[in-house]
Amino acid sequence: MQELSLNVLDIAQNSVRARASLVTITITERSADHFLEISIADDGCGMSEEQVARVMDPFFTTRTTRKVGLGIPFFKLSAESTGGSFDIQSALGKGTVTTARYHTDHIDMMPLGDMNATILSLISMNPQMDFVYRHSLDNNSFTLDTRELKAVLEDVPLNTPEVVQFMKETLEEGEAELLNQTT
């Protein structure tokens, strides 16, 4: 993966496959501590303790089209190679929380990349699901919650082109404001 936002997109596909109805993606940055945390939480089918241990192994996958499963190992490596940490909390029937923590001043730190493109792809490809995206930088934060949008939209789907454009602009403005407030 060239940027962390692609790992997020990949890991969130696991939540889609786990038939989650709500996926919460949180980015927390503390610039003074050179700290970045990415958390992806879903209310999907979850995994047993034994499965959690196995998904870290690149040679484990539930799919049948190929013999390797690299999504989790890639994400884990991206954090651990910066001296950060990685963990998965999961319970069958409850859901899964995947968390990666980074030391952003490490030479092996990948750029976060285009998170907005990741969030937009997830929402427009899975309009029946709900996503909460929260990005906080130091003392400021920005949140997009599709449940709030759906309350306004009534039966107009989230992947209507005008709605996608609205979300795109909302994300861009939110991010610009976040960077502005901090500097």
């Binding site: 990949d10 890639f74 107009v156």
Partner: protein, 125 residues
């Protein structure tokens, strides 16, 4: 900031326009982008968003852009499959956002497969 008022206006406009699009209709062309780890790592995200944006921009009511997992040809990713109403399936491989425009114009609009981008043409890579 964008306001919910703006979203309400979008909702009202969307409700007012008669929806010609029939989800899951048999007349639809389906464009399916592989979005598993292999696809994403190879650059599927911009391919998917370019397809979605272009289809919306051109108002192609009979084209549905969707995603799928890994189909087991990871070395050819990003892969895009086009399913036509008559059952014909075309597999485009090693896709880039630059190739999307030709596929939309020549294949989705005019019905002529862009042979040079298909798996048949690059099959012995």
């Amino acid at each position: 900031m964008k306001s919910l008022e703006e979203l309400k206006a979008i909702r009202d406009r969307a409700k007012a326009t008669v929806h010609l699009r029939k989800e899951n209709s048999l007349d639809n062309i389906r464009v399916v982008v592989g979005m598993a780890t292999c696809g994403i790592a190879a650059g599927a995200r911009p391919v998917l968003s370019t397809f979605s944006e272009e289809v919306a921009k051109r108002g192609l009511q009979n084209v549905m852009v969707t995603q799928t997992g890994c189909i087991g040809l990871c070395q050819y990713e990003p892969i895009v499959e086009v399913y036509e109403p008559d059952g014909k399936v075309t597999t485009y491989v090693k896709m880039t956002p630059d190739k999307v425009d030709r596929i939309i114009t020549e294949h989705l609009v005019n019905g002529k497969v862009v042979d040079e981008f298909t798996i048949g043409s690059v099959g012995n890579l």
